[in-house]
């Protein structure tokens, strides 16, 4: 019953939107209608997003008819646009969260309840075989993050439960966009100490400082992902998850800047698989996105170059022989 009422309410606002121009609440209602295309629980979710979708929320005391406005903590705010375009966009909040959250203030015990893990839903499921969740789980277990804080570091720390999307695999996303998205995940802790310190007692690490050995730092961080240097590659997994200690990080330029560039097995792996055989160039796929010195060697040009060089040397040799014979 409550549900129908709210729905009516939403529709009412939505239709009035066409009449009364562009008021904020009308815009919001219009957006809700769009979200309904991907999610059947938009209205139910509003019961939570009324508070968690805003930067402030209102507490009412019915009997005293008093209202106060409180601010929502930044890390508990969920952007609707992000939520309804993520991989789990069709979900209700209560698919993952306990029904007891409908009560506010939320009960103390709820906070300590364990959350679902990715494997709970995706493990050993044929539909998701291409993602190799099980292999990723193993890699994650071995990663430095897991060993540093096994109790609290979960997949969700990187895969934001309310906004995670797949970029690397998405053909509509450019490699540059995927790099930015991926690196932002790492930077959400590594350049935000307030999140970093929740998981460790370590002092803040200044990334610009620890990577000062890398020239053109800005260009590199724009054109490679952190994981290119900080994970070990594996064949089955598209996105390597085995983040290693800093001693094992790639420091040797040649690992990328050569025709056997590791980027072909990591950053450009998806494209490489897609376009393998289509193009004859060495590492042709990189060509469209960035020029990696040493890695995008164009076979045709290189061959032509070597031939012209040999011809020149040949010509000179003939001339030398002639000069020796004619003693010139």
């Amino acid at each position: 019953m409550k549900k129908v009422l709210i729905l009516l309410n939403v529709l009412l606002i939505a239709s009035s939107a066409t009449l009364s121009a562009q008021s904020d609440s009308a815009k919001k209602a219009e957006a809700l209608v769009i979200y309904m295309e991907v999610n059947d629980y938009v209205v139910e979710n509003e019961a939570c997003l009324r508070c968690h979708g805003e930067s402030k929320y209102i507490l009412k005391d019915e009997s005293m008819e008093r209202e106060i406005t409180q601010s929502m903590c930044r890390d508990k705010i969920i952007e609707r646009d992000d939520y309804y375009s993520m991989v789990h966009k069709s979900f209700a909040c209560l698919d993952c969260h306990s029904y007891d959250y409908e009560v506010f203030p939320h009960a103390y015990e709820l906070r300590l309840e364990p959350t679902f893990t990715c494997l709970d839903c995706h493990g050993y499921d044929e539909d998701y075989a291409q993602y190799h969740f099980e292999d990723i789980e193993v890699e994650f277990q071995e990663s430095i993050h897991m060993s540093a804080n096994p109790d609290n570091f979960t997949c969700w720390k990187c895969h934001d439960p309310h906004s995670y999307r797949t970029f690397v695999r998405d053909d509509e996303k450019s490699v540059t966009e995927a790099i930015a998205y991926n690196n932002d995940i790492c930077l959400s802790c590594h350049s935000d100490f307030s999140r970093f310190e929740l998981l460790t007692d370590k002092d803040e690490i200044d990334l610009l400082d620890t990577h000062s050995w890398l020239p053109n730092q800005a260009a590199h961080f724009r054109s490679v992902r952190c994981i290119e240097c900080h994970t070990s590659l594996s064949d089955s997994v598209l996105v390597a998850h085995h983040v290693q200690t800093k001693d094992l990080a790639v420091r040797n330029c040649i690992e990328c800047h050569s025709s056997s560039s590791i980027l072909m097995g990591s950053l450009y792996k998806h494209q490489a698989i897609e376009s393998r055989g289509k193009l004859g160039f060495v590492n042709a796929v990189i060509l469209n996105e960035a020029y990696v010195i040493g890695a995008n060697r164009n076979k045709v040009l290189s061959f032509a170059g070597v031939m012209i060089f040999l011809l020149t040397l040949g010509g000179i040799s003939v001339h030398i022989v002639a000069r020796i014979i004619f003693k010139k």
Binding site: P215, N216, C253, I254, S260, I293, F309, H319, A322
Partner: protein
């Protein structure tokens, strides 16, 4: 008649040595970056990058010296040419290098005080110094400051095009260098030209009446 004449002014000789050192270093570091490979250690990559950048900047200054020296001294005259009949003159000089010199023919364009270069030298020096070198410098600066390069002129990365052109021009400069050094051994003696570019004096013929 031949005589020893002060053929290369000091500023040009200093420039030339600087230029030669720069180009040699640039070629060596450039090749070792282009053919970077774990199994084939040339110059260590990050050193190659640093050296290449540094030498590139020195070369740019060295080029400015050359450019302005030629603008304000008489040396610039040697870099202007009459384009009429150039093909014939080039063929003539080419035939001399290929056949004439072996048959003991006279040089078609002997070096005189007015004519410092023969037509082949003349054209190749103009091409190299006013096309190839400025181009390699400009494209190199573009790679050093990638934000200054047009993003994607034809849907292909601007950096990519710049880089291919830079590498290709570098390649032609290397070719020039090899030929240049080889042809320099064809002189009064095999080492005569090298001596002149160092001490400035060259054996030249008396000026003739007609100009090339």
């Amino acid at each position: 008649m031949s005589k020893l004449s002060y053929h290369y002014p000091l500023i040009i000789r200093i420039w030339h040595i600087l230029n030669a050192l720069c180009i040699l270093l640039l070629i060596a570091t450039g090749i070792s970056m282009y053919y970077a490979d774990p199994g084939r250690p040339l110059i260590e990559f990050s050193w190659a990058v640093k050296l290449h950048n540094f030498t590139g900047i020195v070369l740019s200054f060295s080029y400015l010296i050359f450019f302005f020296a030629n603008l304000f001294t008489e040396n610039g005259c040697y870099y202007r040419t009459k384009w009429k009949g150039i093909i014939n003159r080039l063929i003539k000089q080419g035939m001399y290098y290929m056949f004439g010199m072996f048959k003991g023919e006279k040089k078609p364009f002997p070096i005189t005080e007015k004519r410092k270069f023969n037509p082949l030298q003349h054209i190749s020096y103009i091409m190299i110094m006013y096309l190839a070198v400025p181009f390699v410098i400009i494209s190199g600066l573009g790679l050093m400051f990638p934000e200054s390069v047009l993003k994607a002129p034809f849907g292909v990365g601007g950096i990519l095009i710049t880089d291919i052109l830079h590498v290709a021009t570098g390649f032609f400069l290397s070719l020039f260098l090899i030929i240049h050094i080889y042809v320099s051994t064809i002189g009064a003696s095999k080492s005569a030209n090298f001596k002149s570019i160092v001490n400035g004096y060259a054996l030249v013929e008396e000026d003739e009446e007609e100009e090339d």
